[in-house]
Symmetry: C2
Subunit: 432 residues, 2 copies
């Protein structure tokens, strides 16, 4: 281990991968450092649902023995505990499945392993990636939520316990925790990352996504998870086409969040960007939260038929009497109408975003809120999930409690590479 | 058991459910009759991948002890062997998963059980619901394929071994076997029936569907699987709005298949229907088979990452060097272009079918072909799968070998109830 490697657990995944590929760091040393950080911090943060140090170290040593297999060779990754692995339990944050093991890896786990990555363990999820919280606390303030449902994945990356982790988003489960925990997240365009072996709430909404510590971290993981060649992102020389979207929920954002977004816009304008304003047509979007809820509820009530019928007492009242009951009570016509409304909104977004490289918007209403009973509001997330657009969150500012505020960039559907290039330009200018 | 119940295994599911609900038949007697038929015929047909008579009889007796829980109470159902059950293996037609067991029921299995249905066993699928065939033979001619990939499900219903079964369709895996085996099938609109616990090839295409012996059979099963109230379908008094679509593959159909479709059109016209002609715009649809193949291949190659990396030698050459290799070789831009092309075709179909209750078209190019190495052509199916439209196949005529020819009815997306009502009118007129 060379100079500057005294705390390898704090490296970005990219720096760690490069150090491993160059022989300056071993996967085993990195995994040991992560395990050390977890041992020191787990009582406070509680990010892990399953962790077997021997299993992780064995995988790390196997990576150290072999040739470099991919852009994340030797790098540990945490998986949200709704993502299957053949060698670890996947409990979905529910007492119903505390013993659940699967024969196969999820596609995501298999692709990570095939690229030389090391599955470190499973991170805490809210119950079935829904609202009922797990035990995880915000890494910078144990009285606050880290966000959810990808609670453990966000907290672990934010706390220096693992450089990369996987989460999912049906409402705001990936992007919001990233903003709260001060890390990077990429939710790719709907449909691009395989969901095989990932617990399913809603076929129409669930999207696999991931966390890292810099833009290149999430770009590398995208290449691995989409089984595409990795290429580093280069910021374009001239300013990307940006648009500010305050959304229909601007009034729900804290003043510091509003100010942080406006400040980013001012700095990027000063750096040469011409920033348009994107208004969501109020008539088309008036009902969007109900539309999202109807799709999610109708589908979850069917998808969770096994749990509803065989283990109803193992479900939280929040889930059973909330989303599942609502989904069962919704008439079929209401579901179809919601699907059609979502498609109409998506068609509008496809058109409106065609000439925009990145929409600048809030990833969350403010700093992580105090309290562990709720994981925060998805008001700034669920719409984009339903629109199937790629979403990226980056750390940007601090709020009055000293906690992170993020900046969300949203791209056109399937234009994730364009979005990441715009994010590179934005990040460079905001650092400057 | 009353008069006329001497062969309960030959009843429609509807007749069986009504007899059970009225106390004229027990689920146990029905299941015993099915098991008897299977014992007599299994050597010839080979439709079952897993069958445990004791388990099925136990479920039947439990149904007989309890109150009537749903419209299929006590009725046995076969599940394609890619559909999980907590109490049976699900081998996916692959040696890789010959021992695979899951903790949970698929949503479909759970919904069937919750409605009082009896899971009879698992039916043979081609390897991972793809092309490499299983051992199943056509029930009327053991030298012929029953079609695939839902081979065992179609053959078992066609042979009187079970009144209902579940299949899936990514290309033509549900509708084509129904036509070959002379039974009814319903592939609902994409997205409506939960796919949780169903082996996934392609998130964008895979659709759960099912077989029965009459229209009401598939309508009852739809109510159960969508967790909706059951209502019998009534044929409209006046003729539905019908359209004939010969498709772009008309020349690939056997003369007897062409004649059977034209004959149906003539009879329905004589019965008072005004039948329009639906032409697929050649420019928009010229490339549709390649578009379908690119989506299916790109997604399958990612979805099957576990099998590709951990058990490549357990995959057939057909699958490994065909769809999976093609999917890995396709550049990302090719996948995105294919998704956009499919969406454009779907938008056209939504418009073109808005005022059509049912499109009349072929479900297969002709009778089941001779040979067990291939399961037949999906040329008349994959387009509708990609368009996400509901598809229904009904038995209609016989070919020169005395084997069934079906009639396919296709509806507008999410208009499955309208499609079934039109099918009721069509079936009544064709019977007359």
């Amino acid at each position: 281990m060379g100079a500057g490697m005294s705390a390898p657990e704090t490296l970005t995944a990219s720096a760690a991968a490069e150090a491993i590929a160059a022989g300056r760091l071993t996967s085993e040393a990195l995994v040991r450092a992560c395990l050390g950080r977890i041992a020191a911090r787990d009582e406070a943060v509680r990010a892990w649902a399953f962790l077997d140090a021997d299993l992780a170290l064995e995988a790390a040593r196997a990576a150290d023995r072999g040739p470099v297999r991919g852009p994340l060779h030797g790098v540990p990754v945490g998986l949200k505990d709704i993502i299957d692995t053949f060698d670890m339990p996947t409990a979905c944050g529910s007492p119903i499945w505390s013993e659940r093991r699967t024969y196969a890896d999820s596609a995501a786990a298999a692709l990570i392993r095939a690229a030389g990555g090391v599955i470190l363990g499973k991170t805490v999820t809210t119950e079935f990636a829904n609202r009922h919280p797990g035990p995880t606390r915000h890494p910078m303030d144990p009285a606050r939520t880290p966000g959810g449902s990808s609670s453990g994945s966000a907290a672990a990356v934010g706390d220096g316990q693992v450089p990369l982790s996987l989460g999912t988003q049906t409402s705001g489960s990936l992007i919001r925790p990233a903003a709260y925990c001060g890390i990077w997240a990429l939710k790719p365009s709907f449909g691009e990352a395989s969901r095989v072996g990932v617990y399913r709430q809603s076929d129409s909404l669930d999207t696999l996504g991931w966390y890292g510590r810099c833009l290149d971290d999430v770009v590398r993981l995208r290449a691995v998870l989409l089984a595409l060649p990795y290429a580093p992102v280069a910021a374009p020389e001239s300013a990307p086409r940006l648009a500010l979207c305050r959304s229909l929920h601007w009034a729900e954002a804290a003043p510091e969040a509003q100010a942080a977004l406006e400040d980013a816009v001012a700095r990027l304008s000063a750096a040469g960007a011409v920033i348009a304003t994107l208004e969501l047509p109020p008539a088309l979007f008036a009902d969007w939260e109900a539309v999202h809820g109807r799709i999610a509820g109708f589908e979850a009530a069917r998808n969770m038929a096994h749990e509803r019928h065989r283990a109803p007492d193992g479900l939280s009242a929040t889930l059973r009497d909330g989303r599942l009951r609502e989904g069962l009570e919704l008439p079929f016509e209401g579901y179809v109408a919601a699907q059609r409304a979502a498609e109409a909104m998506r068609a509008w977004a496809d058109e409106a975003l065609a000439d925009v490289d990145a929409v600048l918007t809030l990833p969350a209403p403010g700093e992580a809120p105090v309290g562990l009973a709720h994981t925060g509001s998805a008001a700034f997330n669920s719409l984009w999930t339903m629109l199937h657009t790629p979403c990226l969150s980056m750390p940007w500012a601090r709020g009055p409690a000293g906690l992170p505020l993020g900046l969300q960039l949203v791209g056109a559907r399937h234009e994730d590479e364009r979005l990441c290039a715009a994010a590179a330009w934005v990040a460079e200018r905001l650092r400057g």
